[in-house]
Symmetry: C2
Subunit: 349 residues, 2 copies
């Protein structure tokens, strides 16, 4: 089988159609200045021969690579994969990103990068040099890493920053955290709850505060107090236990709690059990993720669905458009929605 070469190249098509390479190239890239008849003739040769351009060659001659890189945190991602606890962040990114890439003839490649490493720049730089992607999607915590955004900006590679609205290069995107927290709160309000506790994430994450803002907005609009009803955790189970204990020990106990992660929600449920509070009769809880496992708890959790797939899809579209020179500078918001299940109910009388 020897050295593998392209089975059918642009030359074959050109010969078959009796035109120059250039004309074929123009047809492939859907460029103007080709007479319809000519275009059709070339296209039929392409179809007949089953020609598909080599992206390596396209990239070589200074054109696009048709590759979008989705960068995730190495340690977090591998930990999730190994833990097998059903977190499907990567799958959702693939679902949204890959399918949208495919629609445009692009491919999506996942790349794991270690943020906490001194070599971030080297690692990312190497990936970029090797792959020459046409666009990069950054997820937290990379989205806010100036080493990364700086490198990308410097090399002129369009990129999206999911979960970051800071000014600077790259397309800022959010999954509508403020909005999501608001609708979660409003759902509880509609059920008659008046004391609604909030377990937030750590302040290092911008989205933690965005969510608090959404909760406060809704409470404020309903003229309800929020003071003392917000505790912070670190997204993990133990921090959730502590926060929930504080909230549920308040003299005027909340009748509902919104927690900023599945783990913290599970923790709140455990504290409720310890205190003999039934869910949802005595306490309603809402989780701020919607990973697969929330359906398998007792009761299944009402949860904010983070629109990961939709966001990835949108990011890909924006990145592909970016070659035409237009990047939005206003943050792009893809809103999530509330999935109501059994963990929320009417406020106790």
């Amino acid at each position: 089988m020897g050295r593998r070469r392209q089975a059918v190249t642009i030359k074959h098509v050109a010969a078959d159609a009796g035109v120059s390479l250039q004309t074929v190239s123009r047809v492939i890239n859907n460029e103007p200045n080709v007479r319809p008849a000519m275009k059709e003739r070339v296209q039929s040769s392409i179809d007949k021969l089953g020609y598909v351009p080599s992206i390596a060659a396209q990239r070589m001659s200074g054109s696009r690579s048709y590759l979008i890189l989705a960068i995730n945190d190495r340690d977090l991602t591998i930990a999730d994969w190994r833990a097998r606890e059903g977190r499907d962040w990567v799958d959702q990114m693939l679902l949204g990103g890959m399918l949208t890439c495919a629609e445009h003839g692009y491919r999506m490649l996942i790349e794991l990068v270690d943020t906490h490493n001194d070599h971030v720049e080297r690692e990312l730089g190497a990936a970029i040099a090797a792959l020459q992607p046409d666009g990069v999607i950054l997820t937290p915590p990379h989205s806010g890493n100036p080493l990364i955004t700086g490198l990308l900006a410097e090399r002129g590679i369009p990129f999206a920053r999911i979960g970051s609205t800071d000014p600077g290069p790259g397309i800022p995107m959010t999954m509508g955290d403020t909005h999501n927290a608001r609708i979660a709160t409003e759902h509880l309000l509609d059920l008659g709850h008046e004391r609604i506790g909030f377990i937030a994430g750590p302040s290092e994450f911008s989205l933690s505060d965005w969510r608090i803002a959404g909760w406060k907005e809704a409470m404020f609009a309903a003229k309800l107090p929020t003071k003392g009803l917000c505790e912070r955790g670190d997204f993990g189970f133990d921090s959730g236990l502590e926060a929930a204990r504080k909230l549920l020990s308040l003299p005027e106990r909340p009748t509902a709690i919104i927690a900023s992660s599945d783990q913290m929600t599970f923790a709140a449920m455990q504290v409720a059990r310890e205190m003999d509070l039934r869910i949802p009769e005595d306490l309603s809880v809402i989780s701020f993720d919607n990973s697969p496992i929330v359906r398998f708890t007792q009761p299944p959790l009402t949860a904010v669905d983070q629109p990961i797939a939709a966001t990835a899809s949108r990011a890909v579209e924006l990145l592909i458009d970016a070659k035409k020179g237009q990047l939005p500078t206003e943050p792009v918001r893809v809103k999530g929605e509330l999935v109501v299940r059994g963990s929320t109910g009417p406020a106790p009388a």
Copy 2:
């Protein structure tokens, strides 16, 4: 920002080190016939300039593309992603495949292909022409599709067939289904069970019968009967209900059931509940997957862990080695193991 070009190329390195391009190329590819001193000099230029070869250019000049394609069934994969029921097959493939690729300077790219489509060949052919991968990993049901294996063989692209041991081109690989079924059965045997039912998958899947064989082997070795104790399902929940009802209505009711999928195991548990059988006191069950959700049932399921990550990792290694001309023709077996949780217990007295 203009047309993006490689920041630092082999030319820069060659100039910096004062050698020819070829010598740099030899160093990059770790080829022989370079004096250590020379090699070191070149390497230090590479490090100094932060040079990373462009895989597009490498591929262009007839060398490797450093790309491995993992082909999954489009419909099944998208359905899993959308369902968000925690199936993490793709993640496990990435965990095993991507990390192993990374170790060797390769990347893994997921490609979804529709088996049931007339255009399989066109679809796959296009992906291959565009990407020129150095190797392809096929998963069921593609592994046994002669259109696909034929195309790959014809183009001389090394590939692994996971879940297929048929003769023919490509590296046949299994996840040790026979072995896995045997150890699951033996676990029950050790717990004193003598009537062990088996809910198999459809016969269209080779692995269904491999698993039956493992169960029978263990039963036979223990001189226990299997007649009438095996029912078939289609891996889905409803088929599991039917199979479980038959088994649990037997005059001599089995005290344990092994089912070939999570869904069929859930079905068996539901039938048990309907019949007021406690798990594991009255009935032990073992699932034949180990997807994340099996830990969240009541009780958590004892399950066979399919070594997806390990298999993908092995496949990548074999594929990378394949360029050296050596492909195993004997099926490569990567065995799974049993994860014991709460759904299995001593046989009832």
